[in-house]
């Protein structure tokens, strides 16, 4: 077997043959149960179309910007959860952990006059400590993560109540923190960042393809790569254009336009998380431990350390999510990170395509799933439904996504494509 024979590009009858082959492979994978981003993308499109028709206000630039700030905290917490879910574990305490971390930052800034960067650092450190504690109990003592984090869920709720002193809320005054969810990037900078993001994506894709082709390895057809880059450019361009429209009702008094600052924050976390999971030995060890713990152990991977580190990453990202939530609410109260936040985050990960059974998941899943959750929440709100109906619908969507996950896993087992 030569390396050339490994490529699936086939005969070169026409320039389109490799593209058609690639597409056929993709369809075969879909049918085998490897759905990738498709369910989340289809769901997102369907939901957006439905809400746009029923409530035209859904499609306005202002509401579009709202979607990002509404979904940001849940999305970031979901990103952290992906690392734990890939191991086949769960962190039910991520929601209240985010609240505790945000409260730590808020108390430091409000009562002690600590500058914002130190307060954020303290919040992140709190997240690391929380993750270490949970990870230790799960990996070293061997308590199931469900039980540990269920206990932590309750305990952190109490800690949060203690920090905010039984019911009062701590307001956040720091302009930098408030800017995260409240301010926008100036339009030209938005375009610049969009161009940089698409450019980076294209550079990564093409240099990879070139270095593979140089060594004679199978590469996806150039047309497919170009198509991907093009699609991303169109999507990003449309998004930035919409967000750069004037959203203020009275532009003369206060202009409101540009990409919300949370968007580049999420994009950076997405790129960083994807890099860690896909391009480092550490990321691979996470998948290995999630896929077959014994095999990972025999391969010399320090399984305990990998498991603890995943909980640390989860809680630290929860801290980031908590700060974003505090920025949006201008305060921290006993319910920050509480009520539906955690279930929305788990839902976001699963809806995006991360498996609850472990071994499968991408950081992108959190973003796509987070978008679906935010759209449901936002759209149903516009339709005038009560919180009760929203919860029922979101819960049903989560069950639907988990069902799709379980079914596609069954199917993948049958066709061997898990």
């Amino acid at each position: 077997m030569t390396t050339g024979a490994l490529s699936g590009t086939g005969a070169r009858d026409s320039a389109w043959t490799p593209v058609v082959d690639h597409f056929r492979d993709y369809v075969a994978r879909l049918r085998g149960g490897d759905m990738g981003v498709l369910p989340a993308l289809l769901g997102l499109t369907a939901l957006c179309t439905a809400f746009s028709i029923m409530r035209p206000r859904f499609l306005t630039s202002g509401n579009f910007a709202n979607l990002f700030t509404q979904g940001a905290a849940v999305t970031i917490i979901a990103m952290g959860l992906i690392f734990v879910l890939v191991l086949g574990e769960i962190d039910l305490s991520a929601g209240f952990a985010s609240g505790v971390c945000a409260a730590v930052a808020a108390v430091l800034m409000d009562s002690h006059g600590v500058p914002w960067y130190l307060a954020v650092a303290a919040a992140l450190a709190t997240g690391v400590v929380i993750g270490l504690g949970i990870g230790f109990l799960v990996a070293k003592l061997g308590i199931p993560s469900f039980v540990v984090t269920l206990g932590a869920f309750l305990a952190f709720q109490g800690v949060l109540l203690k920090i905010v002193q039984d019911g009062k809320n701590i307001s956040v005054h720091d302009s930098t923190i408030l800017a995260i969810a409240g301010k926008n990037v100036t339009p030209w900078l938005g375009w610049l960042m969009a161009a940089a993001a698409v450019g980076c994506y294209a550079a990564v894709q093409f240099t990879r393809a070139i270095s593979r082709a140089k060594r004679g390895l199978a590469t996806p057809p150039t047309a497919v790569t170009a198509l991907r880059v093009g699609a991303l450019a169109v999507l990003v361009g449309a998004g930035v254009y919409a967000l750069n429209l004037e959203r203020s009702r009275n532009a003369a008094v206060a202009s409101l336009k540009g990409v919300p600052i949370v968007v580049p924050v999420i994009v950076v976390l997405l790129a960083l998380g994807t890099f860690v999971l896909r391009r480092t030995a550490y990321g691979l060890s996470l998948y290995a431990v999630g896929g077959n713990r014994e095999a990972a152990r025999r391969a010399g991977i320090n399984v305990d350390r990998v498991r603890i580190s995943a909980f640390v990453i989860c809680s630290t990202l929860a801290a980031v999510g908590g700060i974003v939530a505090a920025s949006r609410a201008n305060s921290v109260d006993p319910n920050t990170g509480g009520s539906n936040v955690l279930l929305y985050a788990v839902g976001a990960a699963v809806i995006g395509g991360t498996s609850l059974f472990g071994g499968k998941g991408r950081v992108l899943d959190a973003v796509l799933g987070g978008a679906v959750v935010a759209v449901i929440d936002n759209g149903m709100g516009l339709m005038g439904y009560s919180a009760g109906v929203k919860y029922i619908v979101t819960g049903s969507v989560l069950l639907l996504a988990a069902g799709v996950d379980a079914l596609s896993r069954k199917r993948a087992e049958a066709s061997g494509l898990r």
Binding site: M1, T2, T3, L6, G8, S211, R212, R215, G216, L217, A218, R279, T280, A281, L284, S285, Y287, A288, G290, G291, N292, E294, A295, A296, R298, A299, G300, I301, G359, K360, A412, E413, S415, G416, L417, R418
Partner: protein, 290 residues
Amino acid sequence: MSPATSISEGYSASASPDAPPVLELRGINKSFGPVHVLRDVDLTVRAGEVTALVGDNGAGKSTLVKCIGGIHPADSGSYLFEGQPVKVDSPRAAAELGVEIVYQDLALCDNLDIVQNMFLGRETTKRFVLDEVTMEQLAADTLASLSVRTVTSVRQRVASLSGGQRQTVAIAKAVLWNSKVVVLDEPTAALGVAQTAQVLELVRRLADKGLAVVLISHNMNDVFAVADRIAVLYLGRMTAQVSTSDVTHSQVVELITTGRGAATRREAPDEPNGTAGADGTSEWKNGERP
């Protein structure tokens, strides 16, 4: 089979009868609590040969393999690698010597592809970034060098492979690291007829490339098809280590079940002090030594 057929790729020196065996165990004892699993076991493994390790259930085959692989270090006895005494007390130490074990349950991650599995825990990186290109090429080259044609893409997930293909990947993973000794624990136990033939062919090729192969098997047909020597364990003792050409099917079965080979021809005298086999000739030992 003579070592002459196995000369290749710089292993010829160690494959000659005069060179010390690649791996030699002398007087290995291992107990788990009150259970004395291995009693003064000797084993000689030579480069370019397939040494079959046979024995009934509970004879101590798996324990012996774990001693070789460093998972359960032996309580007493010596472990000689290329003639030098070494201490193998962890899987890492064994891997550093070039001793790789392919376990019965394969230890592959279903959710990872072939390349990722072959390099698991020992990934090639460039400044913390996985060097996917180099790894993919090395994996493909290793499979090619073993003349594996059953795997179409090294980027396939292991979940999509058949039992024989998985075994192939596990073996390729073991030889990827320029290993000198490969121990295969029941590689054909779960395979069909055609796949068994493929895996046995691969086992033979490994030895012909100059590696020392230890094959654990219950299947006498497999043993006689590929092994150069047969080592028989009976209730924790090594009762015999003979050339395949010197024994018959039924004699080996008798050794496995009773620990005695009364009807068989003796090539070397008994050496009850446990150093037999060091001279490299076939040796017989009394299964009922005190």
